[in-house]
């Protein structure tokens, strides 16, 4: 049976359903801790007493000790003198990993506080400043003499005195929560309330206003618990909201932290998807947590061998309307392409690698191979081979924020090649990129807003490793 796109999808679905190998090993690993709203706590509340005691104990340790207050703050950012220690200055901002990195950071920090305080029930509280009754610094953080206190010179003026407060525009979630795509939500949330709250402290001269000093103020961790909670709130709204589980970097990139014994631990996005099941905490009064899973496909599934048949120069998708068809010269390869297209153990694929855009294009592209002049570009056609959609990966401004990550696409070609070469007189295979947007109305011409470059274009044959032997 030939390797068609439909069959490929069918087999993929079958493999996923049959294996359903989720990361179940971490389910029900321990008790569930409740991260409480600090607005309901007092100076005598056990979580705040324990937090203050642990901070005092951690401050007695040298900054080179991973369990010290200085070291933990430096993981977020620091200007401490001396050689940089493992994991220092590793916080993620302006990237898709902003939320996941900070969730990991809070998780290990909370475990350290639990151990240092000797309180096995400790959980970090969150600062719910969107509530109009919680716009001032929580009172337990104001008096001198506890580990929660920071002098005015480093916290900023007016906070300990109870005169400075967060304005409504500082704490608004109106810009982030309605967004459906993860990147738009994360980017908006990172701005407001996250950055705005930091800067409100910075405007008064506080540590919180600057990345290298922010995590030295104990209120930092309550602020970030609230940001972490808002991530859950966003997901729980549904309506297509989901984490970027299709982004392998987001799922698999490893970040270094330290456990409560000072031992190095590595975590990935897949480890922190479900706060309660995987990390053992919930937020007070939050809606039921959405359960998302990283699929673990059996290893044979993705072991493919690739052989490049045709390489083509970079393709540019310019600003504005669609470019015309790109004609790939196939004179030398015509017979071979047809033979492979009919080989039941092989698949022809169009590989579009190192795809970059200078900003969000605001369109995606339907890709057609072998479309002839006058033929309509519709997804029902055998010439339609898939989509190129840039979201996060590949976008250098906005979602990617200048990161070096590029996007890669692999589109099955067998059907399209058979359809295109059936008549026997073609010397070239056309590639056509058709911009689409909301509604995907065929008759509408969408405009690409970014300079997009597909740096590596190739037609390859893909064989499962099993088939080779």
């Amino acid at each position: 049976m030939a390797q068609t796109r439909r069959r490929f999808l069918k087999v993929t679905g079958g493999a996923i359903a049959a294996s359903t190998l989720f990361d179940v090993e971490k389910l029900f690993a321990g008790p569930t801790f409740i991260r409480k709203d600090v607005g309901g706590l007092t100076s005598a509340s056990s979580d705040l007493v324990s937090y203050g005691n642990a901070i005092n104990a951690m401050k007695l340790l040298p900054n080179t000790n991973p369990l010290s207050w200085g070291y933990q703050a430096a993981i977020h950012g620091t200007t401490l003198p001396g050689p940089a220690q493992p994991a220092w200055n590793t916080c993620e901002h302006g990237s898709l990993e902003f939320l996941s990195w900070h969730r990991m950071y809070l998780y290990w920090f909370e475990r350290i506080i639990r151990k240092k305080s000797g309180d096995p029930n400790f959980a970090l509280p969150f600062w719910n400043y969107e509530s109009s009754s919680e716009r001032y610094l929580p009172p337990p953080f104001r008096p001198a003499g506890t580990g929660l206190f920071v002098p005015d010179a480093n916290r900023g003026s007016g906070w300990n005195a109870g005169t400075s407060f967060l304005t409504s525009s500082t704490v608004s979630t109106a810009g982030c929560l309605p967004q459906v795509p993860f990147g738009s939500f994360s980017n908006n949330l990172e701005g407001t309330p996250h950055a705005a709250v930091h800067i409100a402290f910075g405007s008064t001269g506080g540590w919180m206003g600057s990345v290298p000093t922010a995590a030295k103020d104990p209120i930092f961790y309550l602020h970030h618990c609230n940001i972490d909670r808002l991530w859950n709130v966003w997901l729980a709204q549904g309506g297509g909201r989901t984490n970027p589980l299709g982004d392998s970097t987001w799922k698999d990139k490893k970040f270094l932290f330290f456990d409560e014994n000072g031992k190095q631990v590595w975590m990935t996005g897949c480890d922190i998807l479900r706060a309660q099941e995987q990390l053992g905490y919930v937020y007070q009064n939050e809606p039921p947590q959405v359960k998302e899973y990283c699929l673990k496909l059996p290893p044979w599934w993705w072991k493919y061998l690739y052989e490049v048949i045709i390489q083509w120069p970079p393709i540019k998708l310019p600003l504005g309307p669609d470019p015309g068809p790109i004609e790939i010269d196939i004179r030398q390869f015509r017979e071979r392409l047809l033979k492979i297209a009919d080989d039941k153990n092989a698949g022809l694929v169009l590989q579009l690698n190192d795809v970059t855009a200078d900003r969000q294009p605001n369109v995606f592209w339907e890709v057609y191979a072998g479309l002839r002049k006058g033929e309509r570009a519709v997804p029902e056609s055998r010439n339609y081979i898939g989509n190129v959609a840039l979201f996060g990966g590949g976008v250098h401004a906005g979602e990617g924020h200048g990161s070096a990550r590029t996007a890669n696409f692999e589109l099955p070609l067998n059907d399209a090649v058979r359809a295109a070469l059936a008549k026997g007189d073609q010397t070239s295979l056309s590639l056509q990129f058709v911009a689409r947007g909301a509604g995907s109305k065929e008759q509408r011409q969408y405009r690409n807003d970014a300079a997009v470059t597909i740096n590596r274009v190739s037609i390859s044959v893909r064989r499962p490793e099993q088939a080779k032997s």
Partner: protein, 172 residues
């Protein structure tokens, strides 16, 4: 006669359907140090009708795209952004520009990353355009509430590539 009118109406509808989504590029914006507020004017006379049509389309949003935002040092304020008619009042904020962890050269680790902020301004722009084709964008420095003095930017902030664009709606 009626037939000709219908054909003409059909052609106009077709042209409207195939027209690309408009993007209005705005000149580089600089917010000088010690500023409490900065207002710039944008003449949208040419795009007014299409932007108003986009504002009425529930599948689209109008976005203020502020790309390439950078400051040498932390401005120690964030900026509330208002869209309003020329000489009109700032009523509700469209959102904030807040630099933390990106866009600040003195705090950059490794490769410097300018910040990129996108604010949905559909309703604000529609209201402003109904009053005037010349629209004002105002940046108001903001910090903690309750301070005795007006917040002012501690550093110049540059927005290298601002634009107003129409994009598929991503919120609900």
């Amino acid at each position: 006669m009626l037939q000709a009118l219908l054909v003409a109406a059909g052609i106009i509808t077709m042209l409207a359907a195939t027209a690309p989504l408009p993007v209005v590029h705005i000149a580089r914006i600089t917010i000088p140090p010690h500023s409490a507020a900065v207002t710039i004017g944008v003449d949208l006379t040419r795009e007014r009708r299409r932007l108003l049509a986009a504002a009425a389309d529930r599948t689209l949003d109008i976005v203020l795209d502020l790309d390439g935002i950078e400051a040498e040092r932390s401005p120690a304020v964030f900026f509330e952004v208002y869209i309003h008619a020329k000489n009109g009042a700032c009523k509700r904020t469209a959102g904030n520009v807040a630099l933390f962890g990106q866009g600040i050269r003195s705090e950059a680790r490794g490769v410097f990353r300018p910040a990129h902020v996108q604010l949905v301004i559909t309703d604000d722009l529609r209201d402003a355009l109904r009053k005037s084709p010349i629209v004002a964008i105002t940046f108001v420095a903001q910090g903690a509430g309750g301070l005795p003095s007006t917040p002012r930017s501690a550093s110049a902030v540059v927005i290298a590539r601002p634009s107003i664009m129409v994009a598929p709606r991503t919120r609900q």
